[in-house]
Symmetry: C2
Subunit: 248 residues, 2 copies
Amino acid sequence: MDQTLQDTDTNIGFKPLYAQVKDQLIRRLVNGTWQPGMNIPSEQELARQLSVSQGTVRKALDAMTAENLLVRRQGRGTFVAEPEDSRILFQFFRLTADDGPDNDAFPQSRLLRWSQESATEVEAEALAIKSKSPVWRIERVRQIGGSSTIAETICIPTITYPGFEDLTEIPNNIYQLYSSRWGITIAKADEQLKAILCDAGDSATLGCDVGEPLLLITRIARDLESNPVELRCSRCLTNDMHYAVNLP
Amino acid sequence: MDQTLQDTDTNIGFKPLYAQVKDQLIRRLVNGTWQPGMNIPSEQELARQLSVSQGTVRKALDAMTAENLLVRRQGRGTFVAEPEDSRILFQFFRLTADDGPDNDAFPQSRLLRWSQESATEVEAEALAIKSKSPVWRIERVRQIGGSSTIAETICIPTITYPGFEDLTEIPNNIYQLYSSRWGITIAKADEQLKAILCDAGDSATLGCDVGEPLLLITRIARDLESNPVELRCSRCLTNDMHYAVNLP
DNA sequence: GAGTGGTCTAGACCACGGT
DNA sequence: CCGTGGTCTAGACCACTCC
């Protein structure tokens, strides 16, 4: 392991060894050396490979586990996290029924339309691409407990998802598709929430009145290197639902 | 340190040593042995006191630091976290301006009314008290960037805050008041968000039209032992603001 | 029984802050 | 200069899983 950065003098740019180890391991995820579901080498083996102590490897692995990149199972080993429904639901889906939180079912979705268009100013800025770049825009409506609750618009850069036009269907768990088809891992996301009024379009989609209040969720999803790879805009009926946040 | 729980056999109820250490240290916060702002003993000293290794104490301290209960400063020591404006703002206030996030200023508030009343069913359940128990209900309006943005109703059990009636004013940072006056530390909070329409009361308070969309935030704040000690209901104008969430 | 992660210990050196 | 937290190492024992 490169320890030159640890040298005394000029601590500008200093990075602890465990952080360097973590960067190395993330690189293996980024370049596909380690695929989702894989059993990665043991702590001892990684310590040998990188010429650091087991404790330092452990600190890096623990940090990555906390970020939902790895899953550790005592007696079995350490595995690359997969985008299964339950994890994605837990990590990224914060809408819950007011009464019994039936968080076990992934919300069904019905595709309304999808086409290639050119990015608006706002979309381009969010996705860090040039204005008017080609993007896929996908519109769908999601059901929770049998009723249409969310009108969703997903916007992704065409260049990031080559061959997207060949798809015949869009799965409920689109992050699993990103992973299996393009090797893109959604590692984190930033959301911004506002209250808005239902317009004519969403009224038709959701089967509610124009002027009803909707919870607007604007999400920028990022890959392992924090590049924005998806912009999602959800308009949610929150009569029997709420968005749950734990602080901290 | 009591290590009996670690014994082999019957691992029901097993707790790692560092977790037991953490519980011990939290007890010192709860019973006031350690006050906000205090410099707590060094890792070495705590290890001696509790008869565990420094590494085990460190793991407990790191966990408490991650929960914003402690602040560690290299070369100086470890301190009990204080409810200063900047920390409370960062930890519990997620509303931000759409453009420049001017997150340095604590939002000013204007007191509308406060009185002792009896808890509704909903309030009683949220605060884990009996229905119709006496509570203080405080209503105020908060300004951000000079304009009234949030109508806020705070509900706290009378019994938890003895002498509340003697107060002559309510500070902007009410969590600092809870801490200094009653030794109550707000350690975490759960929030539920919905979109609603502005009613006549909030219209007058916020100076907006009836029927405008508002972001409704219902917060249950908890003390060090996870007891609910405040119920807060905020109705926010989100025309130029948004509620920011990072996932994870 | 062999191998894994989970925990605990002991000791070392470093950078930082105050004396 | 000393004491602090921050990092790194080496080795030990445990519980769990699979063979």
